[in-house]
Assembly symmetry: C2
Amino acid sequence: MIDKELERSSDAHWRTALPHVSVDCVVFGFSNSSLNVLILKIKNEKNWILPGGYVFKDESLDDAAKRVLFERSGAERIFLNVFGVFGDINRSENYFAAYKDDLWHKQRFITVGYYALVDQTNVTPIPDSFSESCEWVSINQLPTMVMDHELILKKALKTLREQLSYKPIGYNLMPKTFTMPELQSLYETILGQKLNRGNFYRKIMRYDILIKLDEPRKGGAHKAPHLYRFDEEKYKKALNELSW
Amino acid sequence: MIDKELERSSDAHWRTALPHVSVDCVVFGFSNSSLNVLILKIKNEKNWILPGGYVFKDESLDDAAKRVLFERSGAERIFLNVFGVFGDINRSENYFAAYKDDLWHKQRFITVGYYALVDQTNVTPIPDSFSESCEWVSINQLPTMVMDHELILKKALKTLREQLSYKPIGYNLMPKTFTMPELQSLYETILGQKLNRGNFYRKIMRYDILIKLDEPRKGGAHKAPHLYRFDEEKYKKALNELSW
């Protein structure tokens, strides 16, 4: 990062943002049987970073997360949820210790972790002025991350896995129509383990959120697999229902 | 609240705590078929408040939550988990607006919500110097709460209910030994709805966390019900397992 640019941004931050609070976003996407996460490579810095930033004095925390994600990555209209807060001493202070005159970045930040599931095809990653790239990277091939960002990312993944066990997932991640093996592949990728086909079918059907289409997928296979799509209304209902 | 006391605490806060960040604790207890929460009544204030406070410059966020809960309520060695963050504009600023010279309390606070499940018999509520009482109150008979504390409490309850659908609950809430109807009563109280006895039995047994005792409960009933206790090791394992 260029010192001068950092200093300028530091001044602006003191005027406009709340000290000590930041947000970091973990955005998951699914593509070609791979669970990916949106991360940035800062200029002149060898490690990668989550899209993150500060909270303006005149915006809510949730709005800050949305804005930060958009500014850093170009991702818009994304529904973000808090999954954790990271507030250890020296989690951020040490990282910027070298920048002696930059009091903004050197303060202690408690960061709020937001996560989202998105259709990768709807997001065109755009790096901000501090970053040389913004990319989808497989969670199985993560580069070294700055500060505690790997820990933050892993906590988000744990939350996603837990959510999978009591809520349907897939509406934002799957294409409009899909086969049962494709949906199972999403679940297996998130969980990082193979699932029994019969069990998966029974459990998914119990949610009652799928509509079986009359037409199988065209072309290709000898015996074309059935296509499904989500029943939006039932899906939304299932999200709010408890399984007891 | 007495102005002078508030002012003194305000000065101390600026020296020792991080501005803009606070913690609030929602501590659930279970007693006589009632799900209760630990809340405080501030002196000279008609509404109730969650045990909450600020984060010292030299302590982690998690440690702050533990300390605050102990100072406000006397509750010690409680395992707290983050369930949400509340960061709307004016959620706290308006509340202290009347205290014109108290800049600490009038700043914008983003509060981190922590929740815990405890055995009520292990907690002896002790009010701090600002409070006239600290009590277990049934979630069905909550008094009016200050600021957004009712919202915070409801979000904690929602999290608890969600947790119930994919993790066992009860280890910290039930006495050492209990009957199946007693455990079912805990689940029903948290969910706020009756459950089918057979379904409950099957689902609980699937966790494989209970040990059936040889001796039924002594005295009383014509046909004494079986007693159970939790298998600590299996219970801990089940907490970390995913049901897919």
